[in-house]
Assembly symmetry: C2
Homo-oligomer: 492 residues x 2
Amino acid sequence: MRIPLDRQNSLPLYQQIETYLRQGILSGSLAPETRLPACRQLARDLGVNRITVENAYSGLEADGLVFSRVGSGTYVLPPNPLPPVQKSSPEADWPLWQQSLQAHNIVAKSGLADEMLKAAGHAHPISFASGISDSRQFPADDFRKVLQAVMRRDGIDALDYGERAGYRPLREGIAHILASQGLQVPAENILITAGSQPAISLVAQVLLKPEDVILVESPTYNIAVDLFNRLGFIVVGIPMDGQGMQVEKLEKLLQQHHPKLIYTIPNFHNPTGTCLTGARRRQLIILADRYNVPILEDDFVGDLRYEGRAQPALKSLDPGGQVIYVSTFSKMLMPGIRVGFLAADGPVYDSLLGFKRLSDLATSTLIQRALEAYVTVGRYQAYLRRSILLFRKRRDAMVSAIDRYLPAGTAYDPPQGGLFLWLRLPEAMSADELLPLACEEGVSFAPGSHFFAGGSSGREWMRLNFVSQPAEEIEVGIKRLGKAIRRMSVRQ
Amino acid sequence: MRIPLDRQNSLPLYQQIETYLRQGILSGSLAPETRLPACRQLARDLGVNRITVENAYSGLEADGLVFSRVGSGTYVLPPNPLPPVQKSSPEADWPLWQQSLQAHNIVAKSGLADEMLKAAGHAHPISFASGISDSRQFPADDFRKVLQAVMRRDGIDALDYGERAGYRPLREGIAHILASQGLQVPAENILITAGSQPAISLVAQVLLKPEDVILVESPTYNIAVDLFNRLGFIVVGIPMDGQGMQVEKLEKLLQQHHPKLIYTIPNFHNPTGTCLTGARRRQLIILADRYNVPILEDDFVGDLRYEGRAQPALKSLDPGGQVIYVSTFSKMLMPGIRVGFLAADGPVYDSLLGFKRLSDLATSTLIQRALEAYVTVGRYQAYLRRSILLFRKRRDAMVSAIDRYLPAGTAYDPPQGGLFLWLRLPEAMSADELLPLACEEGVSFAPGSHFFAGGSSGREWMRLNFVSQPAEEIEVGIKRLGKAIRRMSVRQ
């Protein structure tokens, strides 16, 4: 085993060894049950004292990452799925029903990359792993004034339950915005939710029961897939290419799996950044109609277009009640605002409204009222225009940095909008294995494998968020990434 | 009677039965005065549990499609016109998957009484039907200033996702409040939710799957039961008396039904206003522990006590991880604030946190920060003390008005706290039948039948909210109620 050691580094050698192995274990590149080299052997390989290696191993063992069998060696344990459990008594004391829960608590993959970056301890870390836009751009002071004005204007009403479907003037404002994007939906068909995740959850729960099949693009938004899995659905992937979902492969999947829902992100797809072509959109609608399958259209950043022509929303091509459209102000504006919405026609609207009420009774009206005021006076639109100019520059900065700093063999399609650039590493290189090295260099990304519903696909891909950092940081971050890739190439 | 049942369908069996009968009644194929088969008989014919049939019948009864005569059976009523469905095109045009949804959209019972009151067109209507406290008391201006100060202080951070479990200082504030009520829970075991309904929904979804049995007090909070039904659980009632749940009847139910959860409201129960005695609390904990069943303790207004001594929370008697405690600021403070919380120990805490994140990603931090500031400066406590003084006067006003204006034969136990007074009408009088007369007189209430999970119990009961109106209005409202009762007596 080759571990890069830096004898000029202030970090003691045993800690360098320990950190390297820890990252390997946490990223999965050192698989569970892997036998680590014997201390004596590794010490010889690295030219260090045997005690140095023993210290490194015992640090890992203390944290439950490896275990040693006397006379047999040291083995990697499965990464601990749980954050340290806060409890006052040992595990065996929990009631039986609790012990059975413990077994299937899911490990969330999102956030892992940034935890690893933080753990690597770089003085000035740069993350491209985020799933949201740059919240530091948001004019919080403007919003504070709007909020203040709304509370003065509405008094106690601003803090009441309000209408079940959401604050009506905001629904009208949303209808207006959608109409300006070519999607005609009356305010009565809009339902406000606390972000787009609750909207996706609502639709999934109204339309599917455990063991039902849901079709999703492969790759796709990982937290949606985690949710579908947790709800007990069978998630089946539809292959993608540079033009989005490969709709020509859909019919066979529809015949084979009888899915209850197709979940799709047609604009600036997460994680690939692609847009579904117009012809494929029409074909998708026809197939959904023919096979009687509803479509959940997740348009989370459709309005963040930097160039090129927008394709019509699937919902606008909908012959009648086939498509449920979901979008959000959270990704674009401020995550903490927690306002999303869906648009649906027909009986399903009442089902969604009824289920939402049972799930959460109501969504806070105060923020809805403030958002409505913010949208109505045109500040949202101005903020959107400003964001588009800024994010386009950042995308250009990333594209230019990639061309300058990443080695030949990396590949990507420059995205025309949205938040993400989907990058392929040179042949046979694994993003999961690269991540610990990148974190050491002070940069993180979201490994592609996180976004594939099943199997071990996507290992050579990574998702880079190009809007969450200023252009100068992007340049530095991509340069570091290039260094990590070259270090890895040398090792291979 | 043959009813086609599809056990692969996402629709629970009781809803399939209910839908089939509903369509028969609405289409006229089941004529008025038709006697439906006895529950036991139909259950045997269809090979389902008797409770399944009872749930189906009670759904029909709640919607006024059938009525049951004790000892005689269940009969079809003449069909009632349904509320107009919003849609732009005739039913047959919706996709097939939508048409199947249409059949089982549940009609929410809560709110019906006030709709009826509004429809009756009285010049000055008075409602005792509300499920929440008097939001007009809330010092919105104070809260606006706190919110303003928090946004100035925290800037952009106030609008970010924040910690997954909720804003930490607020969790610490809640831990402090709970400790002052004798419940020791560290902030790490508290999870903030958008009100108590999402907390109940979260717990139910983490612990149960469709067809699992949940035990609830009978009667109980109707929106929780609607949720449990919608999630496909089998809801079984535990009888109550003036001291709360009849715990001595619990063991048999535990043996018979193997429930996955016991849902209880031990303090100022909704709808009955009763408090569970100390001895029964201890017995309940022992049984839950012995039968390995978790308890969901809904303490929605435990701190609104006007007199008498508080019993310890079930959670404070918990030997270790058996009880999940849920409470809220929404009922007490302001519905629109949408902040509730739960407290749980052990692996279930991580399961709840994980599922919450998948369901809604995060809860708005702005309101959490404002609430934290409001609680910390002691304003919440002052508001609580003021509310207790005011609500006690209103309770006294209602008790006194009932004694003066309602005819002999009505009965109630004066509640020591909370929001509700549970009133029994004179022998054989139905609150459901009284409601239209009461609305004509300009007063509404929540009929008792809305709160019983199955069967046709509670027809002679009603729930009166005594905190939502000033004392003078209470007097007028009860006087009108007395008039309606006398009109009904004459008719019988």
